[in-house]
Amino acid sequence: MSFLMIVRIAYRALARNKMRAALTMLGVIIGVGSVIAMVSIGQGAQASVQAQISSFGTNLLFVSAGAQNVGGVRSGTGDSGTNTLTEDDLQAIQREVPSVSALSPMINSRSQLVVGNQNWNTSIQGVSEQLPAIRKWTIDSGEFFTDADVRSAARVIVVGQTIVDNLFYGTDPVGQYIRVMELPFRVVGVLGRKGQDAQGRDQDDIAFAPYTTVQKKLLGTTRIQVAYVSAISSDATYTAQLQITDLLRQRHKLSGGQPDDFTVRNMSDVAEAANETNSIMTWLLGSIAGVSLLVGGIGIMNIMLVSVTERTREIGIRMAIGARSSAVRTQFLIESIVLSLTGGIIGIILGIIASLVIPKVLGWPTLVSTAAIVGSVVFSAAVGIFFGYYPARKAAALDPIDALRYE
């Protein structure tokens, strides 16, 4: 008898018990659906980080105090008491490295901005006047602070659009004052709107002040944690990285065997580190979901075993009217594969729907992965075969006489 006939028989047998078939499939539906949703969340995070990194521009370098070893043991970006990056170091880089076109320290301070009776918590970044050129900020009105403001540690501030929306309600803030930690800062400029980044974070919720001001007036420190450096071109990035490293080693008087006490990273280093983190997350999410798929498979086996016992008489009838053992085995195997594969396909559809809904509801980016879909189909078919084989063999091994007599 043909394979197609057995498929037809298996379908009819499943159709006779639709409720049970649906419940059995549920395990696989949830398993496959969550694998796809989880993997797409992981992949989405990865893609958005990639997009963000590439939006920084390929000629961007980070110089930070302390050593960092990507993928290795040592890790730290300079805020753990290290004081190995000084203002003199940065000035020397700008003066002596020809492949560097612009440089700005970056000191982050989270503070409350107060205007009248309104206040707004945001990140005030202490930078130099060169930042707009490095990070491609435009100025909407007013102007960015100047070299003189940096040198004199003037209490001036440049604000992003979100701050304007929340503290000034559409009026022009240039010339007005914002109080930060009870100190008045004069608004000298408003940044152009950048909108959300790839991860859905508001890039306009930011304010810039001279780094000297942030150091002295807000944080009371002389430490510099990180600096942005622009190479003159993308091609010059690697050269700039080497030259900065050489210069800083020389200035810090490090001999051949001593490790760097600072870190110079380019965007591809950052991308690599971010990728690593994200792929760990993707695997973690995926394998948790995979466990539920496995549980779904065991559910199928459970139901198929119950089904073989419950349908002993049916198996006896089939054998008596001429079904070979192999036909019975194939029928049960196909029933199990149909359950898991149908569950898998429904799971894929639900997983894709979840991947489309999650960004809207939770604001997380997702990216539906073809590999996850193909993998889920293959895996759910394998679940059907693996967990269906034992019950199917049990059914085929029944003796028709006993099976017919079974009550």
Binding site: M1, S2, M5, R8, I9, R12, R16, N17, R313, E314, G316, I317, R318, M319, A320, I321, G322, A323, R324, S325, S326, A327, P400, I401, L404
Partner: protein, 275 residues
Amino acid sequence: MAAILEQPVAEPTDELKVRKTTEPRTVIELDHIHKTYTMGDVEVHALRGVSLTIKEGEFVAIMGASGSGKSTTMNIIGCLDRPTRGTYILDGQDVSEMTKDERADVRSQKLGFVFQGFNLLSRTSAMENVELPMLYAGLDTQERHKRASEALTAVGLAGREQNHPNQLSGGQQQRVAIARALVNHPALILADEPTGNLDSRTSIEVMEIFQRLNREQGITLVLVTHETDIAEYAKRVVVFKDGKIKKDSVVEHSRDAAEELRNLPAVEEDDDDDE
């Protein structure tokens, strides 16, 4: 009824000789069949040398008390079980040494079963139940539908094709089972206590179908029963006792189910619609 018991026992081997000269084909030839079961340490001799020949077109009732060996014989005739010793030739084929799969194929092609408990697939239409043996025999859809409709019509169930077993009375279910046994044009239909679960009127109706199939289509029938009055519808009765054939006799005046039905008070056609 008593007429059967008064018949002389015909020696099976003699009968074989006599019938060899006449025309009808031999459908079943059991030759010194033994069947021994081992239950724990005890050997149970279910059959102790059974020889039986059944020709095409016969209607044989097998009788006997429980433990007489009639069920074992029925299982062996039905190729559900193999004899421990002896040969069994079914429709010219030696099936006594066949493998499980070969016997499954023989059941598919040469045998039709009717059981006491009907044994229809639940939640499956009468049509699909009747089609089932043809699915296993590998017939195409058109042929299956055609033959299934014909078989259901032959047992008087035209118009009931889409009913599920739970929508049919016991008698109707048994008729579906008979239709299912018929569709592959078997050499032999085996009925195991087919009227055991039916009331007397429905039993007569079922026997009427068997008699009609036997008379009009020449279908060979073997009927296992412990009810003497049911056995009287057959043309020949074989009585088992202690694993041997005790008596093998021809029924001189078989009961005629069709005539009995005509003489019964009429019943509303649809009273057995639902249970």
